[in-house]
Amino acid sequence: MTATVTAPAAREGTGRRAFDKKAVVPWLFLAPGLLLALVFKFWPMAKGIWLSFFDVRPFLGDKWIGLENYGRVLTDHRFQDAIGHTLILGIGQSVGAILLGFALALLLEGQARSLKFLRTAVFLPAVTATAVVGELWRLMYYPTSDGLLNSGLHFFGLGTVQFLDNPDIALYSTMVMGIWIWAPYNMVIFLAGLAGVDRSLYEAAAMDGVSLWQRLRHVTLPAIRPALMIVLTLATIRGLRVFTEVYVLTGGGPAGSTDVWMTRAYTLGFTRNDIGGASAASVVLLCVTLLLTVLVNNLRKRGEAR
């Protein structure tokens, strides 16, 4: 109440009254958060953009080289490969996790106690630290015939697969792990969406004698559109900046076959000490992320307006 009284006074900016004690209060509460965000988020971002225009040389002083870092990064064939891998991994992982998450939500929707238990168990991959998940999958992908997945393949009469050591397969092995991590997460969002669907619509649809497929297509899907959009937004951002999954599972190998944009930038910055090039690569990723976020958000708003 008091805050609304002081707000117009502050807007007029009449000398001392602008420094009214009440007007300062919200800023005191915001200060810690803003300070931390400024120092550890926005300052590094600005610094990254700044450094991307320099040849960073410790002890010799940085040299302004304009867009050279960007040119170097974008023409580097390992970065070009990494773009492809990031896109394949990001899109494959997102689509897979969305479809599987939706299927899981349809399967595990309901109020029975056993279903609650199942949902708790199925959600485990999403709460487990990615590094632990990486160790788990490295073991399941054990490349000899007595590895967990390989012995399963043997059971079906299939040969041994070098999941992580074969450059043709490693990227897809990583994708499967990504789907495994994110499908349960998407499931929860879809479950929330499904819970909000008007049950009488199902009843009406059943009276009209529509098939299960038609009911899902014309009743369920339109109703959970908001949930779908959120899942899509999250997947877009996640897909591009994928790092930990790849880093802990394959480290980018074998022979760079699973190198994604961020593992490449990490190697450039921390192993080869090319701070300028790595910064340029990060700025490119940042721009693409922002662009995609805005795009997906516009799509979402348009969908809501309709």
Binding site: F40, K41, A129, A192, S282
Partner: protein
């Protein structure tokens, strides 16, 4: 503005035509309770659902059993891996202990505890200002906090590592200290937004009555607002813990040498150590897994609610 919090565990109370259907659902799950129309009567669909549920369980939960069984098996590799250990032993944990796994766990616990405390305090303060005050630039501040979500550690890793080595203005070297991990986690846009939405729904009358009694700002937050926010704080706490425990790149770039690593990052040291087998790595994985598992199992309901709330509000 704010959508209702939907608990997927207890679906759609407001949307069902009151009375009849709700009561019917409680006794025998109605056919239109779910999108697919599962029912409890034994039959082909019922059998199919059970089969699919078993597959889901095998795919998503059973692999965790291999971590535990492997950790308690003498030298697990390939064929000796199973869902249950054949010859249980604690040797792996002893070897992992010799490699300093408990120190890494200590680092992790300090970072998770301190980071979560800082995060909750910082985000609660910010949310209080955003939800219960009106001031110039409010929309801009909200946008800044939202942007922190779009600036994950991965994207700013290289410059952040430089900043951690030499914090601007004060010129502190945070590398090798737990502060290097804790401080960057302080302002988490997700918590700020979720708490703001929740605090906005608290009726103004409560606040006005307290103001008439001469309650100051800090007491207002501590004694009036916070007790009403307990569910939201729970959600922020669980999600924050899981998020901090999952950090990988940040502890990696904030460390000076491997002794500063968290337990999740330290798994890579165990793995590349030629003298230890996969059993020791799995013992480390178990140790890294258990704290998040405990938090999840204790508070999974509020976690699920929180993801749903974050989703419907996002």
């Amino acid at each position: 503005m704010s959508a209702p919090v939907i608990d997927p565990v207890r679906p759609a109370a407001p949307d069902t035509p009151a009375g009849r259907t709700t009561k019917a659902q409680r006794t025998t799950p109605a056919r239109f309770d779910t999108a697919v129309g599962w029912n409890d009567r034994p039959g082909l669909a019922w059998a199919l659902r059970i089969l699919l549920c078993l597959i889901a369980l095998a795919v998503f939960a059973a692999p965790f059993l291999t971590i535990f069984s492997g950790a308690f098996t003498t030298n697990p590799s390939g064929s000796s891996l199973s869902f249950l250990p054949h010859d249980s032993t604690l040797l792996n944990f002893r070897v992992a202990g010799e490699r300093g796994i408990w120190d890494y766990l200590g680092n992790s616990l300090v970072i998770a505890g301190g980071g979560l405390l800082l995060q909750l305090v910082v985000c609660t303060l910010a949310a209080y200002a955003l939800a219960r005050h009106r001031f110039r630039g409010q929309a801009l501040i909200m946008m800044l906090f939202m942007m922190t979500l779009m600036l994950p550690e991965e994207v700013i890793a290289i410059p952040l590592s430089l900043v951690l080595g030499d914090v601007p203005v004060v010129h502190l070297d945070l590398k090798g200290t737990v502060w290097g991990v804790i401080l960057p986690l302080g302002a988490w846009g997700f918590s700020v937004m979720m708490l703001t939405e929740f605090m906005r729904d608290i009726p103004a009358e409560i606040e006005e009555a307290a103001r008439l009694d001469g309650v100051g700002e800090l007491r207002m937050l501590w004694q009036i607002i916070l007790p009403l926010c307990k569910p939201a704080l729970g959600v922020a706490g669980v999600l924050g813990f899981i998020m901090i425990w999952d950090q990988y790149l940040l502890p990696l770039i904030a460390s000076k040498d491997p002794t500063d690593y968290t337990v999740t990052v330290a798994l890579s040291i165990l793995r590349t150590d030629p003298e230890v087998g996969s059993g020791v790595v799995l013992a480390g994985a178990v140790i890294a897994l258990i704290p998040s598992l405990i938090v999840y199992l204790l508070l999974q309901r509020s976690l699920v609610t929180g993801i749903a709330a974050g989703a419907t509000k996002g």
